[in-house]
């Protein structure tokens, strides 16, 4: 398998939208 590691996730708001069975990436998410 490929693995998306945490370095590549930095600064994104990574939203695990379990109810809708999807994952979202929001840029500049830490501010």
């Amino acid at each position: 398998i490929a693995i998306l590691g945490n370095t590549q996730q930095k600064t994104f708001a990574v939203a695990y939208d379990v109810a809708n069975h999807r994952i979202g990436f929001g840029a500049k998410g830490c501010s």
Partner: protein
């Protein structure tokens, strides 16, 4: 200079390394989000103690442990490490318990930590947060065999809301690794892929996320025999997909989801929040099917470098078994048939810079010594459904030092792994 070109990151070389001082501001006290800090950065309470008594972890060590975690994830997905194994009967007899063990993935570096409150009155504990495992645990009193940790051990006798989980309780039955002690307490054992291990009682107590956010009856492990690569953290909180995970237990109160943001620098602060609406600017991709119940699978389908799609065989990702998103793996691993063209395209764009030696698993490194500013191409990841995510600059380069900044991707061993 391509300052205004959206396909390039232009940066000051002097800004490559993180500050040695914590620059993060604490989350507002009325916020329900937990502050996320890098375990080895200056904001980490664990690191603050390390400075007094031990050396810092090197980048090479972080990357070597990262490979151990990746190897362990591969084994678990392949099923080799996923099947329950039986505890040594002699040891089980000695403890008066007989229970199967659950082998998880390697802890690796456990890069990011949050601070949570447990018990009544609540006491704070610094714990690793991990989307690749499910059971949360902290070290507890009395402890037969605990490693030295950041804070005093959790003491059940000081909490008015503590309760043991009985053997017959559904939470005990649902935990694969459950068993009974001679006094009918539910025992758990987790063996991680790197041989780290925690054993203890399954218990429940109030989890405090903030002054206004409490989760009564939170089920977690009260570890009394723990050993391995935990450093000095007080425990680990699992954010995986199974029922016992923090998001699953928090779902009735907050909804069945969570969001985190990992800071760009080890001297900065991010957050972890349960429930809530996803950010308005988010691009979404559907969860993909996957065999391992703890992991979150997604479909990575393509990569762009400097705004141009690189040529990756259409079957490269699917043939490799899909993609897992993991908060605990540092470096993204790609099938070789995807990594090779990424590396080639990146190297073509970096031809004007002097090459630097490889850093552990990172084989494409550059020396920016003597440059005031430098530029690297953007890297975008394309997911099923059309979501395209342009990585932050800090997600493209892994900077050990100014003379050794590396493309922050690595290949898996072969296309079938």
């Amino acid at each position: 200079a391509r300052t205004n070109d959206p396909n390039w990151h232009v940066f000051s070389v002097s800004s490559l390394l993180p500050s040695s001082a914590c620059t993060a501001s604490k989350a507002a006290s009325n916020s329900s989000a937990l502050g996320v800090v890098h375990r080895h950065g200056p904001c980490s309470p664990v690191q603050a103690r390390r400075r007094g008594g031990g050396g810092a972890v090197t980048h090479a060590e972080i990357l070597e442990r990262d490979q151990a975690r990746v190897d362990s994830i591969h084994r678990k997905v392949a099923g080799a490490g996923g099947a329950p194994s039986v505890v040594d009967p002699a040891r089980a007899s000695e403890q008066g318990v007989s229970l199967p063990a659950q082998r998880g993935i390697s802890l690796g570096t456990g890069n990011y930590v949050v601070s949570v409150g447990l018990g009544t009155p609540a006491k704070q504990y610094a714990v690793i947060f991990d989307t690749g495992s499910d059971l949360s645990w902290v070290q507890c009193k009395p402890c037969a065999d605990c490693y030295e940790q950041q804070d005093p051990l959790f003491d059940p006798s000081l909490s008015s809301t503590y309760a043991a989980v009985a053997c017959g309780a559904p939470e005990c039955q649902e935990l694969d690794a459950s068993g009974c002690s001679s006094d009918s307490r539910c025992r758990y054992e987790v063996q991680y892929g790197d041989q780290s291990q925690t054993d203890g009682n399954l218990v429940r107590d109030t989890l405090t996320l903030s002054a206004s956010d409490k989760l009564p009856g939170f089920v977690f492990g009260c570890g009394d025999q723990n050993a391995g690569l935990f450093g000095q953290v007080d425990g680990l909180f699992g954010l995986g997909r199974e029922k016992v995970s923090l998001p699953s237990q928090g779902a009735p109160s907050y909804g069945p989801g969570f969001t985190y943001c990992l800071p760009s620098s080890s001297s900065g602060m991010g957050y972890l929040s349960l429930g809530g609406a996803p950010p308005a600017n988010a691009q979404f991709t559907a969860f993909a099917d996957g065999a391992t119940p703890s992991f979150y699978y997604i479909d990575l389908v393509g990569i762009k470098v400097g705004g141009r799609a690189i040529r990756i065989p259409a079957t490269a990702f699917a043939a490799a078994g899909g993609t897992v998103i993991d908060s605990g793996t540092v470096i993204t691993r790609l099938p070789p048939r995807a990594y090779a063209p990424l590396r080639a395209a990146f190297a073509r764009s970096m031809a004007q810079y002097k090459k630097a030696p490889a850093l552990s698993i990172l084989d494409t490194c550059y020396d920016f010594t003597g440059h005031r500013t430098a530029q690297i191409p953007t890297v975008e990841l394309a997911f099923a459904g059309g979501a395209t995510v342009s990585l932050d600059f800090t997600g493209v380069l892994y900077v050990s030092k100014v003379s050794q900044a590396c493309l922050a991707f690595a290949p898996n061993a072969d296309d079938s792994s």
